[in-house]
Symmetry: C2
Subunit: 210 residues, 2 copies
Amino acid sequence: MKFAKIPMATITRLSVYMRTLQDLLEDDVDVISSERLARLCGVNPAQIRKDLAYFGEFGVRGVGYRVGDLLGQIKDILGLTRRWNLAMVGLGNLGSALVRHANFLKHGYTFTAAFDVDPQKVGKRLPNGLLINHVNEIEEVVKDRDVNVGIITTPASAAQSVANQLVLAGINGILNFAPVQIQVPDCCHVENVDFTISLDTIAYHLSVSG
Amino acid sequence: MKFAKIPMATITRLSVYMRTLQDLLEDDVDVISSERLARLCGVNPAQIRKDLAYFGEFGVRGVGYRVGDLLGQIKDILGLTRRWNLAMVGLGNLGSALVRHANFLKHGYTFTAAFDVDPQKVGKRLPNGLLINHVNEIEEVVKDRDVNVGIITTPASAAQSVANQLVLAGINGILNFAPVQIQVPDCCHVENVDFTISLDTIAYHLSVSG
DNA sequence: GAAGTTATGTGAATAATATCACATAACTGT
DNA sequence: ACAGTTATGTGATATTATTCACATAACTTC
């Protein structure tokens, strides 16, 4: 691939470009300029070119980018040409909704395991047929079903313990929806999603500007 | 409130500090150093001090920060000492789960309106008693119930049209869960939440590192 | 096939952000 | 009240990220 140090922000944006390119492909657009793509993604055109330049030359000067090609290249860069198996830990309102949420499937992610501690839930099946295991079966089930990424939607109090078990089971990617900073070894990559933080920044902006 | 230009990243972190301080308060910790708080929040201690310095001096040298005081100060900075009313637009899996999600309430946010287009849903009430209105009633209802922030959890295809209506209704803060870049006038502040992007960055990290 | 047009790729310039390092101020104990 | 200790507040420095600006390459037209 490439050996320069890639800015984290670049990776995030590649994912945004990918989404937009997917839409464009569905609309049968086959060539797009960095300028137009930039407008659609809400970024600067030079930014897009710089981001892509970290990985190679994917465009045609004077023309633009072939939508299908670029989409394929970005998927390749992000490692999305293979299958990724997910485990959902915590099947409350949010966890249940996310398992059902179409976007994961659309992007090639598959839930192969689900966990909770509630005896009412353990042993039952989700609408998609997935069996709910008990959280203390994580290690066994994760290995068995080749889970690559764990998604934590437990209460904050349980998140660290769940993270520990996921790491122990050999997982090194965690998407954390619990509103705590979980501690993991360096081998494990954690992404936090906390929409109350986003809401707070909105509140701040409204407070100072209006 | 302040006069220097505040980095966006600072605001985001203030919200993180706030969460942690809230937990500390519940645990009856009354003083904390930037170093310990930093560890809990996963940031650099100097970062915390710098962030706070934009707004004043809140600590005691040689001692640390009084947890309760600092919490109050940050809430004040972020504009969270008042009430914020939310409207949920789109009551699919995700929207319904979020309305029920305890975190919003915990942070002082209140849902005062909910919208959908599905005739099956319009006219019904959510578990919390909130009446579901039709999306084309947004302007009227938003004004009537003093909604400050709109949350969009519609399919991507509907997001822009919903955003337009929210703006028209006088809303200038939007939390967007739909996987599209919505266009709004400058007066309106949009925060995007897209967990498939977070998942993609995890996939990337797993791909390059092992 | 030469001139004109367009949009990429990229070094240089700028801006934003994070970290260091230490002077400063508040507590503690003698 | 003074010396010792601790942790803040902040200027200086380092790092990272974004934008500009233009040379370069591919297509188009005459």
